[in-house]
Amino acid sequence: MNSKNKFIFAVSGVILVFVIWVYWVSTSPSEGAKSMVTFVTIDNLIDDYENERVRLGGRIQDGSIQISKSNLLDVHFMLDQGDESVKVHYSKTRPDLFKNGVEVIVEGVYTGGIFKADMLQTKCASRYEGDLRDESEYSMEEVEI
């Protein structure tokens, strides 16, 4: 084998090992449980995904936030997706943007009519730089002429 082929062979070897590695991590069920999670709609959640770890996005129903008197970390609220809604329970630190009417993403398991979330993100959490225009079309003080 001449030296050029030797190196092409080695580099392809590295790449092949890498591809197998990515495939294995992408599909392996052990860690995969936490690393890749399916987004579902409330419809699907109740029909097909009971007791399975999923993600759910939606709006916090106005006035539905109930914070437990004995433990401020404990919260129940209704998550709306259009006309559908589901009751969510969460008992960890809430992000600062958590409030009525805000879009959130929750991750957890749906059992016995309640979605028990152990992860909650407000929608813009990762995109502070993003354009907030769609969400707050002129929510500023305006004076009509």
Binding site: S3, K4, K6, F7, A10, V11, V14, I15, F18, W21, V22, V25, S26, E31, G32, K34, S35, M36, V37, T38, F39, V40, R55, N71, L72, L73, K92, T93, R94, D96, L97, K99, N100, G101, K123, S126, R127, Y128, E129, G130, D131, L132, R133, D134, S136, Y138, S139, M140, E141, E142, V143, E144, I145
Partner: protein, 659 residues
């Protein structure tokens, strides 16, 4: 009143940019040098107008002219001056203009610097830069214009104001640093394309772009680090890196950029890897545009918002266009950039560089895969899947460790081929150090990735020390210097080499910091005044709760006393729970914000978050994290930055050298 001058400058800039293309195009066709001079001046004028337009928008932001939609959205009367200025890059249209302004400043520098140099390449360099400018000019003129007026039926009395999370000095310099990095790669890219067109495989232009590339790469790196630092100090989830798409967007060009920074050394020294370098710089530039696209188009939140914004498809088209045109050009010209020289041995410096490059690119693809997987999955299968941090960690930790290993191995390898004896001589000591560390860690019951990382760090650290020692010994032998003056002279006389090693040292220290992540502990509870809870080896006591009204917010302040489990006082921490806009009658408009307090030492950080307060019962809710070794990430960053600055610092040349 609408600042017409800003919008008109932007229009004129577009017109001048188009004229630049014509002037330079005619110069290339008819070879009349006057046309080239005019082309240069057109490019300067176009860039100058873009900058003027940006200055006008900044001025309106400072004045608080709410007749402009952009100003009304991102500032308010209460916004402090600094954050009125940073509002320039807070929103979409402003950040596009900001991108354009930085590119224009770079273009002015390049054109002026090279007025008398690279006469064959410069026309094409200007053309490439102008085309990139045209893309952003088109965006800001037609798609997302920052000079758009507010709804004419209203008089806007006060604007929305900037998100309080963004009102932090770190956040004020993080985006500009990232942008300086993203945009800067346009210049080496332009030179590379020009060289491809003119079939110039010499090392002259490589020398010109080497410093550009290093500066740009440094800016990008500082931007990424500042982003992590801000997240750690401000966001309150206790980490500095979340593998968020926006973070990944900046990390990917950094990875390929790092590969490029290394492999141009080989091109300079050995005249090899020329095609590979072309591939890398094209890839890096494309990833910079792609990064801007990921951050700005909203493609990550949903495929559907991608097509709705109008910005997405344009960016996507531009990225594809760059890729197709550049790589076809490279394919057509490949014969002119091939070298006869070949790699001879696996244990050579050259192949060390080659494998470091391959692994960097491989890591970039891993990040890319994880980042776009949700988008592909939604587009192809209709179900949206999220890819979380565990995926990225699992996939990247082994790759990162290989990179760390190569950082140590590369510098000890000899050019062309390393003899067996010198392999044994050079690697025995670092390997012994690595195994001693493994033994110590096993005794402490530390295994897994943390053990691997720390022992490899020891290995690389030793190789760097050996490198310095070999250099010092060479100097003392030759010049009869003391060890200290030899050390200083060594760095002074070989800036790029030893600056590089100092950067490597920074990377090693950062890896030490990363390894601490495996031992993070956290807990959260409600505490009454005087109550204690335990986390790890510490006891947390809530000593007092106080309240204070400040100009733009209302604050609850906790006084936490931290004791060791032995009862020894360590420190007190004062995290705050703030409510911004607390006077707003609508409770949903009020904005809570947790101000953290961190006790930081080189061994561990104690990180406290005031998560909630129940004023009636005097109960505070807290989340406490013990994060070992985090400070080493920041210390490593300083070394990385200092090393890079040393490596790119210009060498003063004596007169006799120039003649």
């Amino acid at each position: 009143m609408i600042p017409v001058a800003g919008a008109v400058s932007l229009n004129l800039s577009l017109a001048f940019a188009i004229l630049t293309l014509f002037a330079i195009g005619f110069y290339i066709r008819y070879n009349d040098f006057r046309l080239f001079l005019t082309g240069q001046r057109l490019s300067l004028a176009s860039s100058g107008l873009s900058v003027i337009s940006t200055i006008i928008l900044t001025n309106e932001l400072i004045l608080g002219n709410f007749d402009l939609d952009y100003v009304a959205h991102y500032t308010s009367n209460e916004t402090p001056l600094l954050y009125k200025i940073t509002a320039l890059w807070a929103g979409q249209s402003g950040s596009m203009l900001f991108w354009l302004a930085i590119l224009s400043i770079y273009a002015i520098i390049v054109v002026l610097q090279n007025r008398k140099e690279h006469h064959l390449l410069m026309p094409w360099v200007i053309i490439v830069i102008t085309i990139v400018q045209l893309f952003f000019l088109g965006m800001t003129n037609f798609v997302t214009n920052p000079f758009e007026p507010t709804n004419a039926d209203f008089i806007v009395m006060n604007g929305n104001g900037l998100n309080p999370l963004l009102q932090n000095p770190t956040m004020a310099i993080h985006p500009p640093m990232l942008y300086l990095g993203y945009v800067g790669f346009t210049i080496p890219f332009a030179f590379a394309i020009a060289a491809l067109i003119k079939k110039d495989a010499s090392s002259l232009w490589i020398k010109t772009i080497r410093r550009w590339t290093l500066v740009t790469w440094l800016f990008l790196g500082i931007g990424i680090i500042l982003g992590g630092w801000w997240a750690y100090l401000e966001l309150g989830w206790g980490g500095y890196w979340a593998w968020d798409p926006v973070e990944n967007a900046s990390f990917m060009p950094w990875l390929t950029g790092t590969a490029f920074v290394h492999s141009i050394i080989i091109q300079e020294k050995k005249n090899m890897l020329k095609i590979w370098n072309m591939i890398l710089i094209i890839l890096t530039f494309t990833l910079c545009i792609f990064g801007t696209f990921l951050t700005r188009s909203g493609v990550m939140s949903s495929v559907h918002s991608f097509t709705a914004s109008g910005l997405g498809p344009l960016f996507f088209g531009f990225v594809i266009l760059i890729l197709i045109v550049s790589y076809s050009l490279l394919y057509v010209r490949r014969k002119h950039f091939q070298t006869e020289k070949q790699l001879e041995s696996f244990t050579s410096r050259e192949s060390g560089f080659l494998f470091n490059n391959v692994v960097f690119v491989v890591m970039c693809f891993a990040v890319f895969w994880g980042t776009i997987f949700p988008v592909i999955s939604e587009a192809v299968r209709g179900t949206k899947i999220t890819v979380g941090a565990p995926f990225f960690n699992q996939i990247n930790i082994p790759i990162g460790l290989i990179l760390l290993f190569l950082t140590g191995v590369g510098p000890l390898l000899a050019w062309r081929n390393t003899s067996k004896e010198s392999l044994i001589k050079n690697f025995t000591f670092p390997l012994i150090v690595a195994f001693i560390i493994v033994g110590l860690l096993l005794a402490l019951d530390i295994t897994g990735n943390a053990m691997m990382t720390l022992s490899l760090s020891g290995f690389v650290f030793t190789t760097i020390v050996i490198e310095f020692w070999r250099g010092i010994r060479a100097r003392t032998r030759k010049f009869d210097e003391s060890i200290i003056s030899a050390f200083i002279k060594l760095i002074q006389k070989n800036r790029s080499r030893y600056g590089g090693y100092i950067s490597h040292l920074g990377i090693v220290l950062m890896f030490v910091g990363f390894s601490g992540h495996a031992f993070d502990i956290e807990d959260e509870w409600g505490l009454q005044i005087g109550a204690k809870e335990t986390v790890g080896n510490y006891e947390i006591e809530l000593d007092a709760l106080s309240e204070e009204e400040r100009p733009n917010h209302y604050a609850y302040i906790a006084n936490l006393n931290i004791y060791t489990s032995g009862g020894e006082f360590v420190t007190d921490l004062h995290p705050e729970k703030r409510i911004y806009f607390h006077r707003d009658p609508n409770p949903d408009k009020r904005q809570p914000h947790s101000e953290l307090d961190i006790y930081s030492t080189i061994v561990r950080d104690i990180y406290s978050i005031f998560t909630g307060v129940d004023p009636k019962n005097q109960v505070g809710y807290f989340k406490i994290m013990i994060n070992p070794l985090v400070q080493w990430v920041w210390i490593g960053s300083y070394f990385l930055i200092i090393g890079t600055v040393i490596a790119m610092w210009p060498v003063k040349r004596g007169k006799n050298e120039l003649e």
